[in-house]
Symmetry: C2
Subunit: 550 residues, 2 copies
């Protein structure tokens, strides 16, 4: 199995070699690793093919369900991975890949990740993680302080306190949100009298004990899709996720929140959590957190903030005011693998009250014994890697002012791009950026004018055609491989709340230049010409509207 | 921030450097990385201190909740990590670290992990993972076939089918088990007539619709602690996790399972899932899966097998018969980060029926659109890393016969160690190994004899003292740092089902030698002498028992 062997035989000595003998300096794998280390971007540019291969063709390379009976040389297999996997992967760190929340990462994280993986600690318990446990607790403390700004005495008392956690490190924002709602549900349906609590007796008995007709979680129409998953998993049901109206800036409307509370109360439905979104996935909007907090306090309801995306903004003293009120939340989700520039797999949920998580505490005989400081007593997941180390290192090497610069430049860049779109006569900015996320679409100049005078029915007709055009452009641009924007569906007020397909752009990558943004628009304008039939239909309808309404 | 700079200033150009300029060949970080690559074991031996530092002292290094205002040089921070974190981490891959399910890992996984992290794909959707999605689907297909042995037509039809998944790749076994029970719950309480299904309407309405008084999940007394967490999360309640009796070999007793079903039915409680354990965490025992499957079929109940630990045994044609009946399960959990020798964070759940997961399917507008092949439509987690690549590579490089050898040698080693313990006159084997896991304790020779004639009360008294001794030995051995075994609490029949603290040993590491096993026993015998007071009490009680009963 070593790369020097000529034939591959399966025997225990050759197997032991792979556990004891590293790849040689001239092996294919070592060369690749060196290539990555020396110039990641060049490596990815050279190895990832630009033009998209149809998924069906890629699948042919990954179609064999049989676990091989014959071992492969490490070098042969590495070459195979380069040709089939790396070549057809996505250059998520490319400066022109601005469609999703991925970015270039700091270089030092690659070798540090290797240390993390080589140490292979398991954070579920101290026995398999030792110093990694206090480190993770410190990272949770840092994020807690970033949000809640408690004093030194608070952290020196709680950060390493046995039987307590200031939060949980998770694989991502979804698990973080589920954890927060799990805690909220269990605290809302806690033990009382003869009732032993929902964690022991389950939801059915809890509802009977408390005499509620139903439960509800309130969140804006723009809440992340994973919240439906959370409501399903936790036994609340997706329909109990009650949508609160948003204003034209995609922000939750506090008046409607109050109305929803009143309406639910009339039906004897217990609203046990409100979720404020700090950076919606589709438009980057931030809900009015202070107003929501006030309503939650009146209603004695758990207030959770999903700041998976926007939470990093707290690092910037210039922009953290946009999240004002987050310090009033009972719990907050932040993803470090988004704008804290950490590799995939680093979510966190923080709780204001160090006692909050006791409602989900659990123990076992062989680990997590009572009084232990094992992190696994308060996590939904069990075995977990030492990802917290990467957050810790980045906090120290980049520092808060460094993160501030990264955040500030991303917001400036989004404002620049929004202005650029506004200056074009054939693009429409659909949602203005609050953070570094915005949406827009390509619309021929004359059609923009026509939309201003169109009837609702006419607008709807033309909107359907524009939706087709947006989809076409987005798909073709992705396939061409020079740049990538994503797309989503919104219902903006200025489009009569009709389904509107838009380009969605996230400008977190510090390597994305203004030139790239200009060329993205130029490319989209060119691609539009490649759909002559659709463009023709749009033009005809545009003329018709202008004639009938002028 | 580069290691060559003399002062660290925060400006955008210096920040851009960390995203574009790799660490130099002479930097501290590169040197460490090279050290790891050349000889991981030597690196860990040299950098991890052997003797345990009290946790309170380690915590002092991780006590500051303030995110630094001043950036650090990469090299300075790396040195800091070496001194405070790496030095005080756990050498989980050491051949003498036999207390938990960690092991040495194949060398090639280190550079491959680096590729995975450098590519930073997000498996939630094809747009951020492309070839990684078919690859993960193939890995799930391989594991599915390993368990269920369906024919080629099955896999060519289902493996890459849009809207279907043969399972889910997760961060670990806990999420895998929760996913399986989530699917089972939703299928048991599915839409019917006016009822839209538990996923939509929640548990309370589901129970009222179906007219059940309660729900239950049946599992042996030795089931993993995470199942309680699953029952809590899913709204079933921990008390609805009904314990089924085990025999003296810690295996679920089918007669009691039948009795429990009957008893629950009388109370109008719907048992919607039975969990068979294939490799219990504490004793490595395997439940009688075929018998359980038969009962589940009669009861039309979801049969889940938690093979997080034992599932890898299927790789060995010599031992896979131990898991006979697993192919009858509706779902199976396997952790690749256990005996498939993958780094932390690689769990999987497989479903026999490709339609099973439709009960938890979910969609969003900007990704996971209907008809897409995005893996995120069927996972509890959202954003996820490309860990499946490491499983894929290991399957090809090690191959099935290679894994067979690894499994076989671990089982042989456990049998050797069991025999070795049996040959000692001052050690008691408490649970015999089925897989590579066993439990035992140190008991003075005369006390072993005394226990045979002791009354139940006397045995209980002496057992309490022995429990103290086992705890003392385990703790001191860990602190000394030469070797590590874990401990747990069992209630073995031969100890009158009294609480019995035992050493727990997992022999998965191929580098663990027979010599090491001998020295572990020798060390424990020596440590016992360091508790003279406890030993004295045991001896006095032993003498008393011998006098009164002979």
């Amino acid at each position: 199995m070593g790369s020097e062997q000529k034939t591959v035989d399966v025997n225990f000595d050759s197997l032991l070699r792979i556990f004891t003998v590293p790849e040689g300096p001239d092996s294919t794998l070592t060369k690749i690793e060196d290539g990555l280390s020396k110039n990641l971007n060049q490596f990815l540019r050279e190895h990832i093919v630009a033009e998209e291969k149809p998924l069906r063709d890629i699948e042919k390379d990954f179609s064999n369900p049989i676990i091989p009976e014959q071992p492969e040389f490490v070098s042969d297999h590495t070459q195979h991975l380069l040709d089939t996997l790396v070549a057809q992967s996505v250059h998520t760190s490319a400066p022109s890949f601005i469609g999703h929340m991925t970015s270039a990462l700091p270089y030092f994280l690659m070798p540090l990740s290797k240390i993390m993986i080589a140490l292979n600690q398991n954070l579920v318990k101290i026995e398999t993680s030792k110093a990694f446990t206090p480190l993770e607790r410190q990272v949770l403390g840092m994020l807690h302080r970033l949000i809640y700004s408690q004093d030194d005495a608070f952290y020196s008392h709680w950060m390493h306190s046995a039987g307590h956690s200031l939060g949980a490190f998770c694989s991502g924002g979804t698990i973080a949100n589920i954890t927060a709602l799990w805690v909220a549900r269990n605290n809302a349906l806690k033990a009382e009298g003869n009732f032993k609590g929902v964690e022991k007796e389950g939801l059915f008995k809890a509802m009977k004990h408390y005499g509620y007709e139903g439960l509800a979680i309130l969140v804006s129409e723009r809440g992340h899709y994973s919240l439906k998953k959370a409501a399903d998993t936790l036994g609340i049901g997706q329909e109990s996720l009650v949508s609160v109206k948003t204003d034209d800036n995609n922000r939750l409307c506090p008046t409607d929140l109050k109305a929803k509370f009143a309406h639910l109360k009339q039906q004897n439905i217990k609203a046990f959590a409100v979720i404020g979104v700090a950076g919606t996935t589709e438009t980057g909007s931030i809900d009015p957190l202070t107003d929501i907090a006030e309503i939650c306090q009146q209603e004695a309801c758990h207030f959770h903030v999903d700041a998976a995306w926007g939470g990093a903004t707290l690092m910037s003293n210039n922009h953290r005011h946009m999240l004002a009120g987050i310090e009033l939340a009972d719990s907050v989700t932040i993803d470090a693998h988004k704008q804290l520039y950490i590799p995939m797999g680093a979510g966190m949920v923080l709780f204001k009250n160090p006692d909050a998580m006791s409602s989900i505490e659990h123990h076992a005989q062989y680990i997590l014994r009572k009084g232990s400081k094992d992190l696994g007593t308060h996590t939904l997941e069990g075995s977990r890697s030492g990802m917290a180390m990467l957050v810790y290192a980045s906090m120290h090497i980049i520092s808060r002012p460094g993160y501030e610069l990264l955040i500030d430049q991303s917001i400036e860049k989004a404002q620049y791009f929004a202005n650029l779109i506004d200056q074009q006569d054939d693009f429409q900015l659909i949602s203005k950026p609050e953070l570094c996320l915005l949406t827009y679409r390509y619309t021929p100049k004359e059609t923009i004018a026509a939309l201003k005078v169109a009837t609702k029915a006419q607008a709807s007709q033309i909107n359907d055609l524009l939706n087709g055009l947006t989809k076409f452009i987005q798909k073709r641009q992705r396939e061409t491989g020079k740049s990538f924007v994503s797309r989503t569906r919104l219902n903006p007020g200025e489009m009569h709340h009709q389904n509107t397909i838009v380009f969605r752009v996230v400008l977190a990558n510090p390597l994305t230049t203004y030139d790239i943004l200009e060329s993205v628009l130029a490319e989209q304008r060119e691609i539009a010409k490649q759909a002559p039939k659709l463009m023709n239909q749009i033009n005809l309808l545009t003329e018709e509207i202008c004639q009938t309404n002028n």
